[in-house]
Amino acid sequence: MSWTLLVTIGFYTLGLLHSCLGFYQKRQIFVTLALGLVGAGFLFHTIFLVGLGLERGHFPITDLPESLSFFAWSITLTFIVASIRYRYNVLGAFVLPLVSLLMILSGVAWEENHAIPPLLRSRWLYFHVSVAFLAYAGFFLMFIAALLYLIQEKELKSKHFRFLYFRLPALQACDELMRNSLFVGFIMMSLTIVTGAFWGQQAWGRFWSWDPKETASLITWSIYLLLVHYRLSGGWRARRAAYVSIAGFASMLITFGVNAGLHAYL
């Protein structure tokens, strides 16, 4: 395993620890430190992925370990952006564990030698798969925001002011985070479907084939379209939206996992 990857994992782990500490102790200093550490890790992760891409001669998202690593990278990116905007103690503690998990899985599934299926040798690969992962990352963040909203709302309505009440951000803040990540995720998802259509045209001669992954992503996209509509038209009942976004996230996971039919290379 290359040393950049080890350094990356080291920084991510330290960042996760500091986030959890800051979350538990409610001290801002740990959260700031965590952001710095994760930022450093992100830098090395980028170097690693770029190096990997150059070494293998293609954008590193052609097999499972590569995509897991890239997915972790996308989540870290959204985490950093969200953390700079909203310095919430809680984000790191909830988001970073997934990053670490993905990195571990990627390491475990690592293949030194692999051949790219001929279908993946295309410029569209870069664009389509990277926006897909950014969409996943955005929706994941929205899922977390929805969870936080529901938990905090429960604390506030139950009128028992306990552990989580002190540590979660204001309802309004959770709602804002939900809204922002929704828009980012939705735009990315739309781009994913569009670029996928164009790539499909190039690779298989058809814009749309109704293969399992395409269908699943259309369903996911529709759920989020519903949420966007809800948001824009007003009458936004945050709690209901939170539930729907959890459903949307489940749909997203299925979309990510479905690798049959035309999309069967992973």
Binding site: K26, R27, Q152, L156, K157, K159, H160, F161, R162, Y165, F166, A170, L171, Q172, A173, E176, G234, G235, W236, R237, A238, R239, R240
Partner: protein, 426 residues
């Protein structure tokens, strides 16, 4: 030799009547300090008198006799018989006195842990002592250190952070729901005292616009004026419910003024934007069922009490950290103070020896007439060297007395006696 002692009573050791009698108004403190420092064995003194405690801190010649002097002094100024006073008094000496001063100033001994007023009160007491000339190097160092420690406690622990009053708890809840309150609309229903405190907190925290309504238009107008808000007619309550984000209800009405139905329709008009009710009235004026409505939050006085209690619990956690900090600072301060103590003694020992040597030389020169300036110079050098050689072993012993605390006191007392130090210089 000097020692540090402290006596006092506080809200835990004495009831309010005793504390009232023992308390000294600020005008009487300078006189009392002058009286106190004139008494035998009392070198420096400071009197702290607040509604929750009366304490006297003093640098004294000798600890055990000093307690007696301070206690009889307090009995005199308070008019309380000494036996009655003795029941409530706590006594501290040496580093325990330092620790107590640090704890009190950092609000760790206060009735409400982490309260901010005590620091100001200690600073005033210190100011009075300095003005009256009752505070010298030791107390000056002690209290300046105490202010630094209090600042550290405040900034390094979260002891001051949680709302422990009902009004600030209300604001905290509003923030937890609505986020930043800057653009939010507040409606005050009624003119109750409790409501006022909350509005003041909200206004200070930078809330948006304030509207006031009351069955009596006059009362509404008066309150509105006080908060730079706008009075609105009571019969428009339904309209204002729909257009406000935070509603504070504090009236004398014995029944529900705002029911579930009213809030449901308000929410409909508001497109479900969140709304927070703070019902400070007893009996409640807001239907508790309002809480069941999506995005509507209603808190009564008991709920606010629960927030305060939860916050106090958090403060207690922070207090544990603060106590450790204070303990460390006490040790550091005490070590510094001990090392400082010998400095004046060393200076005095050297001075006395040199004085004797030089005065003898002068007498000799006077008796035996003028001499060659070079010879005089040499004699002066010789005399200085004698003085130095005599004082050097003494000074070394005094300074190293620190390393051996058991013999230290004995040694320093002997040195004091030998050189007949009556009152310690410095």
């Amino acid at each position: 030799m000097s020692d540090l002692v402290l006596i006092g009573l506080n809200h835990r050791t004495a009831g309010v009547e005793k504390r009232e009698r023992a308390a000294l108004p600020a005008t009487e403190v300078p006189g009392a300090l002058a009286d106190l420092t004139a008494r035998p064995g009392i070198q420096e003194a400071l009197i702290l008198s607040t509604c929750n405690r009366v304490e006297i801190v003093s640098r004294v010649d000798e600890t055990s006799s000093a307690f007696g002097v301070l206690e009889s002094f307090l009995a005199e100024v308070s008019g309380l018989p000494q036996t009655e006073l003795a029941d409530s008094l706590y006594r501290y000496a040496g580093n325990l006195a330092v620790q107590h001063v640090f704890r009190v100033t950092s609000s760790l001994d206060s009735m409400i842990l982490g309260e901010p007023q005590i620091l100001g009160q200690v600073k005033s007491a210190y100011g009075l002592a300095v003005e009256a000339g009752a505070s010298g190097t030791v107390l000056n160092n002690l209290f300046q250190a105490a202010f630094r420690v209090a600042k550290r406690v405040r900034s390094e622990t979260s002891i001051g952070e949680y709302s422990v009053s009902v009004s600030s708890a209300a604001v905290e809840l509003a923030r937890k729901i609505l986020g930043n309150l800057g653009s939010k609309v507040i409606l005050i229903v009624g003119a109750g005292k409790m409501g006022e405190g909350t509005v003041r907190h909200l206004a200070d925290g930078g809330a948006g616009s304030i509207f006031v309504t009351n069955r009596s238009a006059e009362a509404a107008g008066e309150l509105a004026e006080r908060f730079h808000g706008t009075a609105v007619p009571f019969d428009q309550l339904r309209y204002w419910l729909a257009h406000s984000d935070i509603i504070i209800v504090s009236t004398a009405a014995p029944n529900v003024i705002i029911d579930r139905g009213m809030v449901a329709s308000a929410m409909h008009i508001r497109r479900n934007r969140p709304i927070v009710f703070i019902d400070m009235s007893v009996p409640r004026n807001v239907d508790p069922a309002v809480s069941d409505i999506d995005n509507a939050f209603c808190y009564d006085i008991d709920d606010l009490g629960a927030v305060v209690e939860a916050n106090l619990e958090e403060r207690r956690g922070a207090a544990a950290v603060a106590e450790k900090l204070v303990h460390q600072e006490t040790e550091a301060f005490w070590a510094r103070m001990k090392s400082m103590d010998v400095a004046p003694m060393v200076v005095e020992v050297r001075r006395r020896i040199e004085e004797v040597c030089h005065s003898e030389l002068e007498r000799y020169l006077k008796r035996n007439g003028p001499r060659d300036p070079k010879e005089i110079k040499e004699l002066e050098i010789m005399v200085s060297r004698i003085a130095g050689k005599m004082s050097h072993p003494l000074v070394t012993q005094i300074k190293s007395a620190h390393e051996d605390p058991t013999h230290e006191r004995a040694l320093l007392t002997v040195v004091s006696r030998l050189f007949r130090f009556h009152k310690d210089p410095g």
